[in-house]
């Protein structure tokens, strides 16, 4: 009980700090915090697979990118925005998730990794190669932000919009994780065969988790398309997937707060490193090696270990 009140109080405090961000920070940093929120959602969606269901996917950017491209294509080819584009983007990401899930869930472990990796590259190659439709390498600039009754054009307005959408999404994710469905997913992570023996239809749970994760990743992708008013093939390439994966692991897989912390750190670090050198990809690689060697259970895991060591002398 104390834990629940504690986490509720922490949530309120974080929300209060976030609400104050536009008043306290320069627009550039308000934009950066907006990006952190979007990637926090993206990382959490991947954690639903990696941390809760035990399925390591190397192709999560596919869903993020498909949603972003849906927004851009609808707006720039058909002039469709907001009310139609947002649900359409979610539907596209969910459908892509369902197709990839059907194929990838034929396999486990390393095969699952390879298949998600390879299929995400197929999606990337379509965005990269189909120049007449997607502008290929150049990407698609000039997406107008949606207008749901009030304008989202300035940085502060878009920040509050993102905060609201991500906030609702996190509440939904928390509800999913706590539900009997979420508990079943954790059971599958621990032992697939045992859950099978208990009468759970393991495949159906994994499929649902995969499609849900794709839908939430799509939501993040849609937010990001409007955030940048631009989409490009780098939204769905392997570096994007790799960033999401390390956000989850750096923060701590199997928790919701971990990926959010990891996302904030990686977004901040990328911004900082990119302002100094062009070698972000190398830094990302080095982070992978360091995290794997020294913090395999993430920052949250380290804190938990530290507390346990203190309470059991």
């Amino acid at each position: 009980m104390r834990g629940r009140i504690g986490s509720f109080a922490a949530g309120v405090a974080v929300l209060a700090v976030l609400l104050a961000v536009p008043h306290a920070m320069r627009p550039y940093y308000v934009g950066l915090v907006t990006k952190m929120l979007i990637f926090a959602l993206f990382a959490m969606s991947l954690d639903l697979l990696l941390g809760y269901t035990g399925l390591a996917s190397l192709g999560h950017a596919a869903f993020f990118g498909v949603a972003a491209y849906t927004i851009a294509l609808l707006f720039l080819h058909a002039g469709v925005g907001g009310w139609v584009a947002f649900p359409a983007a979610l539907a596209a990401a969910t459908a892509t998730g369902a197709v990839i899930a059907v194929l990838a869930l034929r396999a486990r472990g390393s095969y699952f990794l390879m298949i998600t990796f390879a299929l995400a590259q197929v999606v990337w190659s379509v965005a990269f190669g189909w120049r007449s439709f997607t502008n290929g390498d150049d990407g698609m600039p000039g997406i107008a932000r949606p207008d749901f009754g009030w304008s989202l054009d300035n940085t502060d307005a878009y920040f509050y919009f993102t905060l609201a959408v991500v906030g609702v999404a996190i509440l939904l994710l928390a509800a999913i994780v706590k539900s009997p469905f979420g508990r079943a997913l954790r059971g599958i992570r621990e032992s697939e065969s045992r859950m099978q023996a208990l009468g759970y239809d393991v495949w159906r749970y994994q499929f649902t988790a995969f499609v849900l994760a794709a839908a939430f990743a799509g939501l993040a992708g849609a937010l990001y398309a409007y955030y940048n008013r631009f989409v490009g093939p780098e939204y769905l390439n392997v570096i994007q997937s790799a960033e999401a994966l390390i956000m989850v692991i750096l923060g701590g897989a199997g928790t919701l707060i971990g990926p959010a912390i990891g996302a904030a750190l990686i977004v901040f670090l990328e911004d900082y490193v990119s302002s100094m050198t062009e070698h972000w990809v190398m830094v990302l690689g080095i982070i992978y090696v360091l995290v794997t060697l020294f913090a395999p259970r993430g920052l949250v895991g380290m804190i938990v270990d530290y507390r346990q060591r203190r309470s059991t002398p």
Partner: protein, 283 residues
């Protein structure tokens, strides 16, 4: 006749893919590591070959130096990093993922962003007449080299003491260790050999496919398709998968240029549905 040329092209590309897939497959079979750094071994190997060519002009030397350099790098990665996470699949994959990015950026730094072709040795800069067409000798050379390496690997695996140890290790590393086989040394040896094969593939591919940033990821994906189709841990599977993917890729590019990747991935999806562990995979 055009068919024969496409088939030869496909087989030649398949042989290059086999060099990657064989290492990927052996490494996974023995130590259950999904080695994503394999793409880097291919690309950096090719680039090292390029530098040696520029310095000495010798293609043979380029092959040897690239293979040795990448074998040493591979051995170091296995000894100092992967070893710490024996049989712990996710951390190992993450490490190899990290190295893939580090090498990608490093080679962009050293060799620049423009696609570069390796010059092929003088003796291969000719074509043989073939009906109304003529066919470049170098591609025939690729096919021959691929076949020689495939036979050598098969002979090594079936008829040498080390190959027997390898098969024992693939079947059950614990029992192999208990029988007195130095599994630890075997791991490093096989990892380095796999890495060197990928480097040889990179140098051999240089004169026909060009080396460019991103070739590491592109080639890795195709090598994945090969082992998904053929099955991880099987040399026979790697060869069958490589030939199939090489042919599909070539026919796809020739007849459906805009959907070239789909001619590779649709059959992969089909095989996954029918046989999730690949044509020759175990379990």
């Amino acid at each position: 006749m055009i068919w024969v040329i496409h088939i030869l092209n496909g087989v030649a590309f398949g042989m290059l893919l086999f060099l990657l897939a064989a290492g990927l497959s052996l490494i996974y079979g023995l130590m259950k590591i999904l080695n994503l750094t394999h793409g880097s071994f291919y690309l950096v190997g090719g680039y090292i070959g390029l530098s040696v060519m520029r310095l000495t002009g010798s293609f043979a030397l380029a092959l040897v130096v690239a293979a040795i350099a990448i074998a040493v790098i591979g051995a170091a990665i296995e000894r100092f990093f992967l070893r710490r996470f024996h049989l712990d699949e996710l951390p190992q994959t993450l490490l190899t993922f990290g190295f893939l990015f580090i090498f990608a950026d490093l080679s962009l730094w050293i060799w620049g962003g423009d696609p570069i072709m390796l010059t092929m040795p003088q003796i291969f800069q000719r074509s043989v007449p073939m009906g109304y067409f003529s066919y470049p000798i170098y591609r025939l050379f690729l096919i021959v080299v691929g076949l020689i390496i495939a036979s050598a690997l098969w002979w090594f695996q079936e008829h040498t003491r080390l190959g027997t140890m390898l098969r024992a290790g693939v079947d059950d590393a614990e029992i192999a260790r208990a029988l007195g086989i130095n599994v630890s040394l075997l791991f490093t040896l096989i990892y380095a050999t796999g890495a060197a094969l990928a480097a040889v593939g990179g140098v051999l591919a240089g004169p026909v496919l060009s080396l460019y940033p991103g070739a590491d990821f592109d080639t890795l994906i195709l090598a994945f398709v090969v082992v998904i189709v053929g099955g991880l841990g099987s040399l026979r599977g790697a060869l069958a998968g490589a030939l199939l993917v090489g042919l599909l890729d070539d026919f796809g590019k020739a007849f459906f240029p805009e959907f070239a990747l789909f001619t590779v991935f649709v059959p992969m999806a089909f095989i996954l549905v029918v046989r999730p562990t690949g044509l020759f995979g175990r379990r």
